[in-house]
């Protein structure tokens, strides 16, 4: 492991520790029995098999949007539309499941593929706006996420709504739902698709020509342009692919045993979570399952803590925020990094001298 890589790991660990310490501080402030709360937060997910599989099931959407965002951000396109793509993906799979009534086996596959395509089209909107009008993709993607939310609610209310329950669709027919893998948990085959997507995302970004072009554009757009790379093509492919994966995640999530109807009347936040995942994974899709595990563990721990103590769930957002701040702070621990590099260089020099001598 090179010293830079070692340093990155060290910094991530320190950032997580600082974030946990801050959150312990907050817990001590707000709780009457802080130690009990902290113990549930840290060990809750391990206390029962069901809790642990809760972690696994909540990893799935995080891996999808995380991988999608890794691809989009690698091209240095700060497109935040994966949030909306995930939402639209869920809507499309609900529509397919409820309206097409395809035979079992075929229905989920069609639903998931169509939701992925819808996601791709959706994230392409800010990309096309950027190419055609040079409108900033960050700003336009923030706006269209709200459009996705209200559009989905509109479709649900006027075409899918089950009058018996109010603001939710009719139940998803059994022919379209994904089965549970392990009895009495909600873990579904989506986990395998998610892991495959993470690996394929890595292969695409780091082992193919277009992936290389994409990363080069992200590092230095002008240089990429001078070396003959079509920036328009790179932007479009990265955004289409990112949205495809996020939309697929939304489609799978809706058909999973976690939901039995389309009931998403507010944005779920997986697009924002994806940015945390992408930051933790250093834009490498291969590490998204690990980052997703961390985040899912934290969330599950916090929701168990909220159930068995007087600390509320929202503490997780503080932990996440602080982790991001310290991981992306380039100057944080930089003095230590310099020392580490200097030490390594000296050691290398010494070795060389010895060889010569």
């Amino acid at each position: 492991m090179s010293s830079t890589r070692k340093f990155e790991v060290l910094r991530t660990v320190v950032a997580i520790l600082i974030a946990l310490l801050i959150s312990f501080g907050v817990i001590f402030l707000v709780s009457d029995d802080p130690l009990n709360a902290i113990s549930w937060l840290l060990t809750g997910p391990l206390k029962s098999q069901r809790n642990f599989f809760n972690v696994v099931e909540s990893m799935i959407p995080l891996i999808f949007t995380g991988t999608g965002v890794c691809i989009m951000f690698s091209a240095n396109q700060i497109n935040l539309a994966s949030e909306g793509a995930f939402h639209i993906g869920g809507l499309v799979s609900a529509v397919v499941a409820l309206k097409l009534a395809l035979p079992a086996g075929i229905s989920p596959v069609v639903a998931i593929l169509l939701s992925a395509c819808a996601g791709a089209l959706f994230t392409a909107i800010p990309a096309i706006l950027k190419i055609k009008t040079s409108a900033d993709e960050l700003v336009s993607s923030l706006m269209i996420n709200y459009l996705a939310l209200y559009f989905s609610t509109f479709i649900m209310k006027y075409f899918l709504q089950d009058p018996a329950v109010g603001s939710a669709s009719y139940p998803i027919p059994e022919a379209s739902t994904l089965p549970t893998l392990i009895a009495r948990t909600r873990v579904h085959p989506g986990i395998f698709v998610a892991l495959a997507v993470a690996v394929l995302g890595y292969v695409f970004l780091y082992k193919t020509k277009i992936g290389y072009q994409l990363r080069l554009t992200g590092e230095n757009q002008q240089f990429a342009e001078y070396s003959g790379i079509s920036i328009v093509k790179v932007i479009l492919i990265s955004q289409l692919l990112g949205g495809f994966i996020a939309g697929m995640g939304g489609g799978i999530e809706l058909l999973s045993p976690i939901y039995d109807r389309f009931s998403w009347t507010s944005l779920l936040g997986y697009g924002w979570d994806a940015i945390i995942i992408c930051t933790l994974a250093k834009k490498n899709p291969l590490y998204t399952p690990l980052s997703a595990f961390f985040l899912a563990y934290l969330r599950t721990g916090a929701s168990i803590m909220a159930r068995y103590s007087d600390v509320s769930l929202e503490i997780v957002q503080i932990i996440q925020g602080v982790v991001i701040l310290f991981i992306v702070a380039q100057q944080f621990l930089s003095r230590y990094k310099h020392k580490m590099i200097a030490r390594e260089a000296k050691a290398a020099l010494k070795e060389e001298e010895e060889e010569v001598g």
Partner: protein, 305 residues
């Protein structure tokens, strides 16, 4: 419906919807002028909305509450500046982090302060008062239109002029613009870009905190969870659409305020609510596209000559 639209109430509704966006848009413009995209506006506004409720109830004075909120808003601006400028954190990711902390932190703080969950029902806050302008309020039509709005509505309008003068007529404003345009050139004539950016982000924080205070002490009279509801992001779009100038940002904010007010009136009609709720965001998106396109064409034309 037309009768509703051409009334003093409707005009007041536009002003009410415009004010928080306007404060945030000015905040975005000041930050953008020094070269920083301040996406943390969303979180700053949320924090300020809660601070406004807490501190006005603690001091039982809206003025003290507002002042403390402004100081704390400036402080969050400083924290953002510290991370972006000293620790070299990516400004977008730092903003996302602040927004996350705000979403969770406000809920926890409110819970710790009053035991309220979601809505600050048990906090006795003091909202900013309505301002009745002497003489003007007695003039028939004009009085109804221009007098009797919340104090912060007037402050927002005054802030447009003040920030315009500040950016274009003062030495510090010139420095901020110089740093935003070409940092190296500014440094070469002895301007400390870091100091200037620190000041700009602090001002940005103070401005948006006034918008946050208005949200919970004017627009509504309590704090509710996630009450900023994307206004910080809209402000970013509005500022960018207005060319990052105070006057341009003001015009776009008003456009947004109109879209919002029309949406509120249209809820009485049979048009689906969701379609109406999309209106402000759609307006912003289309406007942004048109503005960026015209600017791109202009740049190309200038480059061609």
């Amino acid at each position: 419906m037309l009768q509703t639209i051409f009334s003093a109430d409707f005009f007041a509704a536009i002003l009410r919807a415009t004010t928080p966006i306007l404060f945030a848009t000015l905040a975005a413009a000041v930050a953008a002028k020094c070269g920083i995209i301040n996406m943390a506006l969303e979180g700053m506004m949320l924090f300020s909305a809660l601070f406004g409720v807490i501190f006005s109830s603690m001091t039982q004075s809206w003025l003290a509450g507002l002042l403390i909120t402004m100081v704390l808003g400036g402080l969050i601006g400083l924290i953002l500046a510290f991370f972006v400028l000293n620790l070299k954190t990516d400004e977008i990711l730092a903003a996302i982090a602040i927004n996350l902390v705000a979403t969770g932190g406000t809920v926890l703080l409110m819970l710790a302060y009053s035991g309220d969950r979601g809505t600050s029902t048990s906090i006795q806050s003091v909202p900013a008062p309505a301002l009745h302008i002497p003489f003007l309020q007695d003039i028939p039509v004009l009085g109804d239109l221009l007098s009797g709005h919340n104090l912060l509505v007037y402050l927002a309008l005054i802030a447009v002029v003040v920030i315009h003068l500040f950016l274009y007529k003062t030495p510090l404003g010139l420095r901020i613009r110089a740093v935003g345009e070409t940092k190296n050139a500014a440094e070469s004539v002895g301007i400390s870009s870091r100091r200037v950016q620190y000041i700009a982000l602090t001002i940005s924080g103070v401005l948006v905190s006034m918008g946050g205070f208005f949200m919970s002490g004017g627009y509504m009279s309590m704090f509710t969870k996630d009450m900023a509801a994307g206004r910080g992001y809209i402000a970013l779009a509005a500022s960018s659409m207005g060319g990052n100038t105070p006057i341009g940002g003001f015009l776009v904010s008003v456009l947004f305020g109109i879209a919002q007010a029309v949406a509120n009136v249209m809820q009485l009609t049979t048009i689906p609510t969701e379609m109406i709720q999309m209106l402000p965001y759609l307006t912003t998106l289309v406007g942004l596209g048109i503005y960026s396109y015209s600017r791109m064409k202009k740049r190309q034309r200038l480059a061609g000559k």
